[in-house]
């Protein structure tokens, strides 16, 4: 396994301006990702995980209040680039996205082949014929019959559309693909199928993945590393083997205990209470209100402790 860092995110901040005040959707996020690895960003809805995808790829809405931090891709500081050179050199060239509900994000009036070819034409300046050849190659990689190039999105099943969206992210041969909830709207068998495709792509094309999801069970299908996000912050970064065996942060533990299991007869437990509002998150640990192991110190912002290579943002692990 190559252990060179491909993506390094440090202290990434994305705050939105709203009528009610600033929403701190991404608030000091950090993680690393090596070549040919997949990191899973786990979190519940409203924890800022989709905003994180947007912040990494700089696909920002207009109501930005604060956007800073450092994102290094293969050592290049992408935050220092201006928008135009970012568009030309990074987005969809070295880093691409499979958006949430990708199956509905395809253009209904374009043939899927033309849509897949488009990033090649725009970013690599190739002729359409050539781009279509590349698109056909990608279709084979993701397991869509090549004659589907001439079809429209509505003529494909959900699983096929999802594969097409993955092909579109891969057509320019990027180093990194961000997958935002790639299988949440799909059936069980289709979902397992898509994960088989992603596993194969990781081997064949040597691509890295950032998988953003709330589904802990299926995320283990792809994960080499796991980052848990809560209320805009990363609370734990761990390797998959240790995380799925026994997570450290109290939130991660409770999240893991809430997963119903098919193969073990353990009664799942839920987490009482609700995540805090990102408008005015509590001082100190943001999970403290719901945490069964809170103590006096939790009213102060916890530092990120390093426990044998696992990073945990919790007072329990500071020596």
């Amino acid at each position: 396994m190559l252990n060179e860092t491909l993506l390094r995110v440090e202290d990434l901040v994305l705050h939105f301006k709203t009528q009610k005040g600033s929403v701190r959707a991404v608030d000091g996020v950090f993680f690393n990702l090596a070549h040919k690895e997949a990191v899973v960003i786990l979190g519940e809805s409203g924890c800022g995980k989709s905003s994180l995808a947007k912040a990494i790829l700089r696909l920002l809405p207009r109501n930005i209040e604060r956007y800073d931090g450092r994102v290094y891709l293969d050592g290049d500081d992408t935050m220092a680039m201006d928008d135009e050179s970012y568009r030309q050199n990074i987005r969809w060239v070295r880093m691409s996205l499979v958006p949430q509900a990708a199956m509905n994000s395809l253009n209904p009036v374009l043939k899927v082949g033309d849509q897949i070819a488009e990033p090649m034409i725009i970013h690599h300046g190739v002729k359409k014929e050539e781009a279509l050849v590349q698109a056909a190659k990608m279709f084979q990689h993701v397991g869509v019959p090549v004659d589907f190039l001439d079809r429209y999105a509505f003529e494909l099943s959900g699983g096929m559309r999802q594969r097409v969206a993955i092909a579109m992210a891969l057509v320019t041969a990027p180093d990194l693909v961000i997958l935002d909830e790639p299988t949440s709207a799909l059936d069980v068998l289709t979902q397992a199928n898509i994960f088989n495709v992603l596993k194969r792509l990781k081997q064949e094309l040597e691509v890295s993945f950032v998988l953003i999801t709330h589904d802990i069970a299926t995320s283990s299908e792809l994960a080499d590393r796991v980052a848990v996000m809560y209320a805009g912050q990363i609370v734990e970064v761990s390797d998959a083997h240790r995380f799925f065996a026994e997570p450290l942060h109290p939130y991660s533990r409770m999240l893991m205990a809430s997963v119903p299991r098919l193969r073990a007869n353990v009664e799942p437990e839920f987490i009482t209470g609700q995540p805090p509002s990102l408008l005015d998150p509590p001082k100190g640990c943001r999970f403290a209100d719901r945490c069964p192991r809170r103590f006096e110190k939790c009213s102060e912002e916890p530092p990120t402790a390093n426990v044998d290579g696992i990073q945990v943002k919790c007072w329990l692990y500071t020596s």
Binding site: S45, D187, V188, S220, L262, Q274
Partner: protein, 328 residues
């Protein structure tokens, strides 16, 4: 577990629900055979799960039970009513015995009504004129689903509630008329992992307290064992396996059930190291389903010369029924 002495609440016999296809708006062009020969009994206070992928006919089955579709052939009997024959006032009265929990709570709640109005609606429709009585029943049901303190929630609109709270309102509306049966159509698939368990436990608590019969429709096998006594697995309009939940989970018999279980992940880092074995292809068209066993084109264990010719019927080992020739 299944108590043979319990009385039957809902009985479904050889139910077929077909939708006619028309060419250019007229002229017959075949049928979509959404439900094609389903038979089962549901007892008072029993919970069953219907598991299947989208397009397997589970929603059509549910709508027929609710009286929203008419059976093409076969019979749905609720207590001693033939549901297919009901209309008008009788149908309305029948529906007051059934609560319905929708999949998408936000879509199921009218955005211009507050919680109180939403919960009073079924009472109004069923002729409870006294507003004080309506309010007291609304308050009581909100306590039941733990939308407390009640006064905080009474005047809120759906968009002001979280997904879990919205689903609680939907559940409160389903049980406010004290139904005998609750049909829950993927009640937690739109919710977060930690809220899912909370809502399922709430439903289970209500089921036990009021001795409700529940039909839990889902595609997620991993929640089934915590929430039902019997499981029915549907594929392409047929029920292919009927079994008590533990028997199904520990000893799945139909190759399709096995495939569903193989495709369901438990959180385990070793999952990333191997590919999952899956049946090839996709579920068949319901207009022209395959002959014989409908799963045979995708089945790894098919018996040539038998599975594609003859349709399997329910073969039983005790109370574990499976429609598959492997078990003859």
């Amino acid at each position: 577990m299944t108590d043979k002495q319990r009385d039957v609440l809902l009985s479904i016999q050889d139910l077929h629900v077909w939708f006619e296809l028309r060419r250019f708006g007229f002229g017959h062009a075949g049928y979509v055979k959404a439900v094609d020969g389903v038979t089962f009994d549901l007892h008072y206070g029993e919970t069953i799960a219907i598991v299947g992928e989208s397009g397997c006919g589970k929603s059509s089955l549910m709508k027929t039970i609710l009286g929203l579709n008419k059976p093409t052939k076969g019979k749905v009997t609720f207590e001693d009513l033939d549901v297919g024959l009901l209309g008008g006032e009788a149908l309305r009265k029948y529906r007051s015995h059934i609560g319905y929990v929708q999949q998408d709570p936000f879509g199921a709640l009218a955005p211009f009504m507050n919680v109180q109005q939403i919960l009073e609606e079924p009472l109004r429709i069923n002729g409870i004129r006294d507003s004080a009585e309506r309010e007291s029943r609304v308050r009581k049901v909100m306590e039941e689903v733990k939308l407390t303190p009640v006064d905080d929630f009474l005047h809120k609109f759906p968009h002001m509630l979280s997904g879990g709270q919205q689903q609680r309102v939907v559940i409160a509306r389903a049980i406010i008329l004290e139904p005998k049966l609750v049909v829950a159509d993927e009640p937690v698939s739109m919710l977060d992992a930690s809220v899912r368990v909370e809502i399922l436990k709430l439903l289970r608590g209500l089921q036990e307290k009021y001795h409700l019969a529940v039909i839990y429709i889902t595609h997620d096998l991993s929640t089934v064992r915590y929430f039902s006594e019997r499981v029915f697995v549907m594929y392409a309009g047929n029920v292919v396996e009927k079994a008590p939940v533990n028997s199904l989970v520990h000893n799945p018999k139909h190759p399709y059930t096995e495939a569903l279980m193989d495709a369901t992940s438990d959180p385990d880092a070793n999952n990333a190291l191997q590919y999952r074995e899956l049946p090839p292809g996709e579920p068949p068209s319901l207009v022209n389903p395959p002959s014989g066993c409908r799963f045979h084109p995708r089945c790894p264990k098919r018996i040539e010369g038998l599975c594609e010719v003859e349709e399997p019927y329910d073969l039983a080992a005790d109370d574990h029924l499976v429609a598959c020739w492997l078990y003859k």
